[in-house]
Structures are given as structure tokens and as C-alpha cells.
Point group: none
Chain length 415, copies 2
């Protein structure tokens, strides 16, 4: 009894819009424990919608359509479904009355084209649309096959899904066993290296464990199918504990945790404060830190020292060091961190100076070379060199520099 | 000769991520004039990938896969394609060498599991991946059918698509009659207000004009179908000129222009410099400015004055003003701008102070209240109040504050 999501709309095939409906339905189906193996996108074309229905019927027993319920001639979903199953369309007068009333409310007159939205295949049950003009339907055109239709407007889809489709699926026996998941986040280890250590878990079927990677971070998602969230957590917890033991301090948080939120929690627990001095990231580290509501508890601010003059004047970097070692050097990173810590009178300070590219790289200082400084409450100041790779682009080098600096501080705070 | 996009990944079926790759490829295929009628999403499952290939082969002649090229056991795309066409996988030693080199560059060792990424079906041509470890391929398993594979990581896909796939499709005869487009960017006008002024253009078929909106900015996309870019530009140019005249100075740039790049070009042309003082944006404005390569020509840096103490100590904000008016006030915005301009000795300065939420709002100072300060070369300092809306979330309020401040400076520089 698998479900298949079929999104109808030429605008999706032209790339005019992101297919956020497919993701919404995917999350909802997973939460209800409805198996879901395929998604299809098809344009506003009768023959091709027929073909998509034929393929979907052969492999899925619940077809969930979004889009193509509008009043204009290119909206063909209902008509295509009815004609594929050789079923006549019937007009629902209560829908026409409802549409007319909605138009009257905003002082407009219903257009003749809206009458089309009152047509549904004979035998289909209407799914009311409280926030729009196009109702959907639930229809069993034959035994073992259920079709649901929804408008393409995300807000209308969400409400209709919650109000009616969820109840329907529960009466069909779904939602007894739901899927709950926990994501574990890692930094400082590659996806392949982490996967090799935990790959014996990848064959597990309940919970399942799957790795994801992006922007230098790795995530393992543990998903369990159970009759309640508590029961699912009982399945997830031992696996999570095991993975954390294997990953050691490369593990930094779960679910909505970010490096910035974890660093913030650690600082708050210690009652300590932080400032930053940023060169190549230009404010990106401060932005990550202040994405967290309440970050003013521990984050005081910083200096964006993009020009060398600012490094000298505001941070007290030694002009001779800039001259002999260059702005991207260990000594300058250390002086930036020490300088901003003193200037803002914080317990900790982070500095970042690097070659973000695409220009400005040399053999000695290639694009991707970054120095991170950490000034600690005990007065010690470290400067650490990273090679983030000259193949990476400017945005990614800047993002990874900021993430790397947060991870470094996290490790210092956790040690 | 239609193309079909097949996105492989259980994470898409679980709703963990939005399918932005499908949209990217849809836009690119439309631009090249490649017909594209179906998109399929399928999980990391050998049998189901085989089934998706079988269906796609019967209706499309170019299959474009994304995802499933990683090093872990659940990455099955290459293996599934090879086994469907009964073709052995062969190892490419140059790929192993390349992966090993990339690991060495960042001081790590390649893991045995990465060797899998060097396997391609015999006869397939490698698509190099300059920014990651997984190469893709172009392969004709039989006459009239071409398969392309790309990693699921968006930035790797984008670069490989631009560097190699576009050229390949052009040699196959695509992109003769291509769609060329120009995007015009607007700030300070709503989508509906702009649309009402130019809606008589929306019925045009070549070029077409379509509006998009997001994050407080509006975009009109003018797309023309023609045999050459020059011919398309002849169709686009008069429409663009007409729209610019209608929009006045709400128009700020085209295509890859951003508010930060436009402000940068204006400053560079005048030989003037800029600094920033950021409170609620926490570095986000500096980050936007330094996203532009070469921004060190005009952007000197700034102060992230998240705590009031930093506003006083580093920017010279009057403690009495903070006490009586509060940190989110016109006078503090003006003093922040004047302070950073003096401290960094720049021609211009921007400051931002506001209530980003979700907490911290009051009746007098609701979430979304933002003051922007602009200090000009003539010594004048303005402070301007914006209500960005308490319904908006923290991220959007911060992003729109930074964008609004850049737009304000743009208007000053253009007047």
C-alpha cells in the first residue's frame, strides 16, 4: 500500500517554482508511516497526465495529486483523472454557491471559468478548500486504488491535508505506526570516514541509519517506525549513544543544534562571553552567532577588519607583522584575536583571516588558506592553519572558515 | 528528443531536503531549448532505480540523474545504471589519484570506500567534478539514449553542468533556438504594485515577461526565444528599457547584480570607501558586502556592536541616548553610523539597529522595527525608521534590514 506524489504543472518543468509541495507531502507521509517510493512531476498536458496515472497505478495504491485544479484551460488534473477511468464529470452546485460567496466577500463577481472547479468525477467525495476556490477530492475509481487531489497553492494544500486527508489516511489504518527521526551532527570528519566506522548500522531496518553531507558537515539520520514517539525514542536512543561513542568529539549536536547554538549553550553555561575579529568572512561568523535568539547573553560583538588599516587601528595588529608575514598569517590571526578580546573585554575571542578567492592566491598562500585565532580566558592565544582547498568557491571557503572557527571554540569549551 | 530528470535519494522521499536540483535543471533545460516533460524522484533502492530507468527510457532520450554518487553503500546510482544495461563497471585510476590528492590537500587520508567513486560503466565518459570527489558521466548505453549523472550536492552539480554538460548538449544540436533571458531587479516596490504597472506585457509571447518575488525583492524575467543571443537581446532590449522607465529608481540592476554589487560599483566609480556598524544583523551586512570579489577596493570593515557596551566603547554612542531612547532608536542609529565612519575614516558609513525577534518586542518597539543610519561624505548623518513587520521571522527581518540599508545607500549614491 504505497503512496505516490504526482505534481502537475508546466511551471515546475520550466523551473519557475521550487517543488515545495512534494517535500511537504513527503514529510507528512513519513510521519504517518505511509510508504512512499516515487514522486512524479508532469506538465499540464492530457496525454502525459494519463501516462503518469497509468505508471503510478501499476506501482502504488494511493495517488496524491497537487496542482492543475485552477479555473483556466491549462488546469487539467480533474478532467484527466476522470477521463482515464472513463468516468463522467458531475457538477456540484454547493461548490458553485461556495465560490460565488467567496467572490462576493471580496466584492468581486465569480467568473464563468470558475464553474469548472465544481466538476468532479461521479462517485468522488469532495475535499473542501476553506482558503481557496478549488476543492479537491478523494476517490476510489477501482478497488485497491485511492486518488486524492489538492490545489497547487501550498497554503491551501496544507490546510486541506491537515483537515481531511490525515483523518482519511488514519481511517485506512495509517498513522498507527509512524516514523520518528533524530539527526546527529558531526564536524571534523569526512562522510566516508565516519560511514566506515558505523557502516555495520546501515543494514539495520528499524531504526534505519543513513549518512548525509554538505558544506563540510556530516549528518547521520536515525529513523524509527513505532506506534508512539516514546516507543520510537526507545529504539533510537541506544543507536544514538553507540554512534556518539564511536564519533567521539566529532559529534557536536542533534536535530536543530548548529555549531553556533552549541557554542552558545557552552558559553552560557559557563557565564562567559565571546567577541570576533573577521577578515575574509567579513561578518559571516558574527551573523552565524547572532542567528541564535538570545545570543546577546554571551556574544558581545566584534570588528570586521577587512582592510589592514582596521586591523592596525582597531585591533592593535603590529604593522611590522603585516608587512613581513602578511595579513593571512598565524601571527596576525593571533594578534587579531588578542586585540578584539582586549578591546571588547570578553572571555573568549575568535579571529579569521584567509584567502577566500577567487583571486589573490599565490603558491605560498593559495586560495583556501585560512588562519583561525582563539584567545582564551587564561590569556593564551592560539593560531591554527587550515587548508580548505583551492578548488572550493569563495562562498564555501567563507562559510567553512566560520564553521571551522566555531568548531575549534567548541572543542576548547568541551575540553 | 526529450530529457527527463531523475533525482535519486531517500532523503527526498522523506522530505529531509527540498529538491532544488530538479528546479535548477529545469531552468537550464528550458534555457537550452531541450524539451522536458517528466521528473522522477526515486529512493536509494536498486530495483526501484531500475524501474525508473525502464520507464524513462521508453519516453525520453536524455536521462539526467542527480544524487546517489557518494562513497557509502546506499549510493547506488552508477551501479544501478550499469547493471540495468548489463555493462561492467571499470575503475578509473585517475579518479582515485584525484580523490587522494583532494584528501591530501586538506590533510586527510582517502578512505577505501571512496574507491567506489572511481567506478563507471565501461564506455562511459567521465564528467570531472572540480569541487568534490564524485565524478559524473556521459554515456550512450545504446543508440538514441544518453545518460548523464551528477552528484546531489547542488554546488557540485551546478559547476559540472556549466563546465561540461552544456557544451555536450550544444554539440547534440540543442541550444540552436535557445531561450535567453534577462532578469531585472527591483527594490522598494511590491510585486503586485509593479505587476499592475506592467501587466500589459504579461500577454506577450516572445519575449515573455514574468514576475517573481522573495525576501522583499521583486524580479521581472524577460525571456526571448531566438537563434542567437544577439537576436534575443534585440527582442529583450526594448521591453527592458520600457520597464526600467516605468519602474524609475526602484530598478537597481540586472541578472547577476545584487544590491551589494551595485553599491560596490557606485563606490568604486567615485573612489569612495564604506564602513558598517551592525547591531541586530550581527555581521550580515558586512557578509553581503564582502560576498563580492574585489570588495576590498571600497569596503574597509566595521564594528559588530551587538552589546551596548561595544556601541559606547568602540563607536562613541552616548550612554545617555542609550538610556533614554534605547538601543533601537534614530539617535543611536545616527551615532553608530557617525562613530564607525570616524573610527574607520571612510567616506560613507551604514548602521543598523533593530528588533529582530522573536522575543524582545514591545508595543512601542515591536519586532521588525529597524533604524538605519547613513553617514555621508559631507558630514551629514540620517537615521531612517522601517517597520519590517512583526509577522516576519528573525532571519528574514535581519536579511531585509541589510538589504534595505544597501538600497538606501544606493539611492544616495545615485542621486
Amino acid at each position: 500500500m504505497a503512496a505516490e506524489v504526482i505534481c502537475v504543472g508546466t511551471e515546475l518543468l520550466l523551473g519557475d517554482i521550487l517543488n515545495s509541495n512534494a517535500r511537504y507531502l513527503a514529510i507528512e507521509l513519513a510521519a504517518l508511516g505511509v510508504p512512499h517510493f516515487y514522486q512524479t512531476v508532469v506538465g499540464d498536458n492530457l496525454d502525459r497526465i494519463h501516462s503518469a496515472i497509468e505508471i503510478a497505478c501499476a506501482r502504488s495504491s494511493i495517488l496524491i495529486f497537487t496542482g492543475g485544479l485552477g479555473p483556466t484551460p491549462d488546469d487539467l488534473t480533474t478532467e484527466a483523472i476522470a477521463s482515464y477511468f472513463n468516468t463522467p464529470l458531475v457538477e456540484h452546485p454547493e461548490v458553485i454557491a461556495n465560490i460565488a460567496q467567496k467572490f462576493a466577500q471580496i466584492g468581486r463577481e465569480m467568473t464563468p471559468s470558475n464553474r469548472k472547479q465544481a466538476l468532479q468525477p461521479a462517485g468522488a467525495q469532495l475535499l473542501p478548500n476553506p482558503s481557496g476556490t478549488a476543492p479537491g477530492m478523494i476517490w476510489q475509481p477501482r478497488a485497491g486504488l485511492t486518488i486524492l487531489t489538492f490545489p497547487g497553492v501550498p497554503r491551501e494544500l496544507y490546510r486541506m491535508w491537515r483537515d481531511t486527508a490525515v483523518l482519511f489516511l488514519k481511517t485506512q489504518g495509517y498513522g498507527q505506526d509512524s516514523i520518528y527521526s533524530r539527526s546527529l551532527h558531526f564536524f571534523g570528519v569526512s562522510e566516508s570516514a565516519l560511514a566506515e566506522k558505523v557502516n555495520y548500522l546501515f543494514d539495520s531496518t528499524n531504526p534505519t541509519v543513513a549518512p548525509y553531507a554538505g558544506n563540510g558537515q556530516v549528518r547521520l539520520r536515525i529513523a524509527a517506525k513505532a506506534s508512539s514517539e516514546a516507543a520510537a525514542q526507545l529504539l533510537i536512543e541506544p543507536i544514538a549513544t553507540e554512534i556518539k561513542q564511536i564519533a567521539g568529539n566529532n559529534y557536536f549536536g542533534s536535530d536543530d543544534d548548529t555549531l553556533a547554538s552549541v557554542v552558545g549553550d557552552l558559553l552560557r553555561a559557563r557565564g562567559q562571553t565571546l567577541s570576533v575579529a573577521e577578515s575574509c568572512t567579513g561578518g559571516g561568523l558574527g551573523r552565524l552567532l547572532t542567528e541564535i535568539p538570545g545570543s546577546s547573553d554571551y556574544f558581545m560583538g566584534g570588528v570586521i577588519s577587512y582592510a589592514n588599516r582596521v586591523k592596525i587601528d582597531l585591533l592593535g595588529v603590529d604593522p611590522a607583522a603585516l608587512e613581513t608575514e602578511g595579513a593571512v598569517s598565524e601571527i596576525v590571526a593571533r594578534q587579531m584575536a588578542a586585540g578584539v578580546k582586549a578591546k571588547l573585554a570578553t572571555d573568549w575571542a575568535i579571529s579569521i583571516t584567509g584567502v577566500a578567492g577567487p583571486g589573490g592566491g599565490t603558491d605560498a598562500k593559495p586560495v583556501g588558506l585560512v588562519y583561525i585565532g582563539i584567545a582564551a580566558p587564561d590569556g593564551s592565544v592560539e593560531g591554527i592553519k587550515y587548508l580548505l582547498g583551492s578548488q572550493r568557491d569563495r562562498d564555501l571557503i567563507r562559510l567553512m572558515s566560520a564553521a571551522q572557527s566555531l568548531d575549534l571554540l567548541r572543542r576548547r569549551l568541551q575540553s
